[in-house]
């Protein structure tokens, strides 16, 4: 398959692994920010092939995983209101809220919830069911936000007034600044998320590289993409440099996508946001602007977001911060599995715990 097979070429992979080994002159710790990276590294088998001097730490880049229990509780509240119909991304469906209840449970009890592949499908649902209030729980980072903004603009243009979004949208840089400012984490390099970077641009990581002395490399998601990014990182670390490099030039530019950013700015404004495991991070979220309040489910339906209660014993918070790895969690692989997840990192296929469980050695 074009654009895929050439990036999974076994000979090229071997060659790049040799180059990476040669470039790695001292041990270093890399945070792979994005859940898609975590999954790709496991699924391709790359994790076990890397030089042992490279330690990979998963970061807070799985959108489902960082959705707070309180926001799941709010989604559940909306699902149970009469006349509402939720259109949700599939991997949100099994994420437990504060008391373990999920949208899957709510649907079994009679709530109207459909899994959709795009927010535009939610808008279509609203068009087809004018008597219902169709709500799209907005989750995700810069990658998904432009699509949501475009959907709200389309709803306004088409005068569809029974479509709403509950925004828990987040931006990637504030938590990274907060997390990586902690020297205890000991991160040397950042494998920057390819999809988010296509919107925010490689330039966005400049302050992180400068202020935290981090080798930041934007990487794609195929094995050879990841290896190329790690080579650029290893060379910097060996030479004591901390710069921003782009190893994913077929998708990411230095400036990113200003048009998508401007569309997001039209609809959303920065707000403090609660992250699962990380708490409230100033200016890390996006709220719908007053001019578009008609599409804001939280204000239109007067939803109060309750206080989050994390499941006892769950280490998702520490795992999202990169402080610990899944096998150290007492619930991992025992009470918490992909079929009955307790914490969010086990739910999404891109979650760190799910990746370790699915592709690693999970018997303990």
């Amino acid at each position: 398959m074009k654009y895929v097979d050439e990036f999974r070429d076994p000979e090229l992979t071997t060659q790049l692994l040799h180059e990476l080994t040669a470039a790695t002159t001292k041990p270093f710790r890399v945070m792979e920010v994005c859940g898609t990276h975590t999954m790709a590294i496991f699924r391709s088998g790359l994790r076990a092939m890397l030089p042992p001097a490279i330690e990979l730490i998963s970061g807070p880049g799985c959108p489902v995983c960082v959705t707070s229990a309180s926001h799941i509780d709010a989604f559940l509240q909306m699902a149970e209101l009469p006349g509402t119909h939720l259109a949700v991304f599939g991997d949100l469906f099994r994420v437990p809220g504060s008391n373990g209840a999920t949208l899957a449970h709510a649907r079994a009890r009679g709530a109207k919830i459909d899994v959709v592949y795009s927010p535009m499908d939610g808008l279509e649902l609203a068009r087809q069911n004018p008597a219902e209030q169709v709500i799209f729980p907005g989750i995700g980072f810069e990658t998904t936000t432009p699509g949501i903004a475009a959907t709200i603009l389309a709803a306004r243009q088409q005068n569809i007034d029974n479509f709403m979004v509950f925004s828990t949208h987040k931006t990637m840089l504030p938590p990274l600044m907060a997390l990586l400012g902690d020297p205890a984490l000991g991160i040397d390099g950042l494998l920057c998320p390819g999809h988010v970077s296509s919107i925010i641009g490689a330039a966005a990581y400049q302050p992180l590289a400068e202020e935290n002395h981090l080798a930041c490399v934007v990487g794609g998601f195929e094995p050879t993409d990841i290896l190329q990014a790690l080579i650029l990182m290893a060379r910097q670390i060996s030479e004591g440099r901390a710069e921003v490099k782009n190893a994913y030039t077929r998708a990411v530019t230095w400036e990113g996508n200003p048009r998508a950013r401007s569309m997001v700015d039209t609809i959303f404004e920065p707000v403090d946001m609660e992250w699962r495991g990380l708490g409230i991070i100033g200016g890390s979220g996006l709220a719908i602007r007053k001019e578009f309040a008609g599409f804001d489910a939280q204000s239109r339906l007067s939803i109060t977001v309750p206080e989050s209660k994390e499941p006892p014993g769950c280490l998702c918070g520490q795992i999202l911060k990169g402080i610990t790895t899944p096998p150290t969690c007492p619930l991992f692989g025992r009470r918490c599995t992909p079929s009955s997840p307790i914490g969010p990192c086990m739910v999404s296929s891109e979650g760190t715990c799910s990746a370790w469980f699915t592709y690693g050695n999970h018997t303990r």
Partner: protein, 363 residues
């Protein structure tokens, strides 16, 4: 004067059609017997009586509730015939006959029902396995989703044929009879209303002829295990075989046939074709010395034209981590019951059974 209006002339299924009265009889004669009639079924007795034949009996049942009921490559009717035939075939049985139980939702368009019955007729005739007994119930609107089908099947297992997951042996070669994931991805994309370029089609087909040719063409006892990787896909089925036999299985990603369209759809949706359902494929575990012969036999059948050897059964026993003791990375141990995949780039990862339904990722 409702008697003047034949319920069958109505455009949809009514509760009357399941009453057991006149409307039921009319549906049976003008639709079911018209298309499916044979000597045994058309006698309309309370049960089918079949002649005794030598061999052991294989007996299986399966229910079909697929949504959408029509999809490229088949419909709920073809699945109901092929699925049950394949369950018989996977024990080495020659399928003899099927039962057909229908649960219809009030309001099901008759034209849809007839289309499904014609599919069942074609699948049954092409497979040479008749429907010999049947039943129909109608439930009020909303109590079922359009149509649910149950089929049971009886087959005969010839003397000397012993096929079971527990018979897998170290050294066995694993053959997959064709490309993987076609049915699962077709249903998922249809259900989601996703229009993708390319020709995604269900692989719904009967495999008993292929199995009979395999058994006839190979030395007795050399086919150890046959399984059709339906829900849960090739990954889950191999995990079940490894679990039942207490052996290890190693497969190679680059050898597993997956159609380009299926791979592309999986890449877009974040799905792994190893976990997608198949409805016309089987995994055969055969003694290593007959593997090439078995492959050639399968490839000579239209159902197995794209068959490939995808892996090997091993006794395991390599119980140490492939990393150093202090390494925090996941280890790939050689525990009994474990399935591992050699990835395209030369890495290795463990394959676990499917947990929950496959869900597409958000970005």
């Amino acid at each position: 004067m409702t008697q003047n209006i034949s319920p069958h002339r109505a455009e949809t299924i009514l509760l009357d059609h399941g009453s057991g009265g006149l409307a039921s009889q009319e549906l049976i004669s003008s639709l079911f017997l018209k298309h499916l009639g044979n000597k045994v079924l058309s006698a309309l007795e309370d049960s089918a009586v079949m002649d005794n034949q030598p061999g052991r009996l294989a007996f299986t049942t399966d229910s079909y509730v697929v949504d959408p009921i029509f999809f490229p490559g088949g419909d709920i009717g073809t699945l109901a015939v092929h699925g049950t035939i394949n369950d018989l075939a996977m024990r080495g049985a020659r399928p003899l006959c099927l039962s057909l139980g229908l649960i219809l939702e009030e309001g099901l368009p008759l034209v849809d029902l007839e289309r499904i019955i014609i599919s069942i007729r074609d699948a049954s005739q092409n497979s040479g396995v008749p429907i010999v007994t049947g039943d129909t119930k109608v439930v009020p609107r909303g109590k079922a989703d359009k149509i649910f089908i149950n089929t049971s099947g009886i087959g005969l297992v010839a003397d000397g044929v012993e096929i079971s997951a527990t018979r897998a042996q170290a050294g066995d070669k694993i053959i997959l009879s064709g490309s993987m994931g076609d049915h699962g991805i077709t249903i998922m994309t249809r259900r989601a209303g996703i229009a993708l370029a390319g020709d995604l089609r269900s692989d719904s087909m009967a495999l008993h002829a292929l199995v009979q040719r395999l058994l006839a063409g190979l030395p007795p006892g050399s086919v150890h295990t046959l399984r059709d990787p339906t829900r849960g896909g090739v990954a889950t089925t191999l995990c079940e075989i490894a679990g039942s036999s207490g052996l290890m299985i190693e497969i190679e990603e680059s050898r597993i046939p997956v159609r380009t369209e299926v791979r592309a759809a999986c890449e877009i949706l974040g799905l792994d074709p190893l976990y997608l359902a198949n409805e016309g494929k089987c995994l055969a575990l055969v003694a290593p010395e007959v593997a090439e012969q078995a492959l050639a036999l399968m490839q000579a059948c239209p159902e197995g034209a794209e068959a490939a050897i995808i892996g090997t059964v091993t006794s395991g026993g390599r119980s140490s981590s492939i990393h150093g003791a202090s390494d925090t990375r996941p280890s790939l141990t050689g525990d009994p019951g474990r399935v591992t995949l050699k990835t395209t780039i030369g890495g290795t990862r463990v394959i676990t059974p499917l947990h929950g339904a496959p869900l597409p990722r958000i970005c």
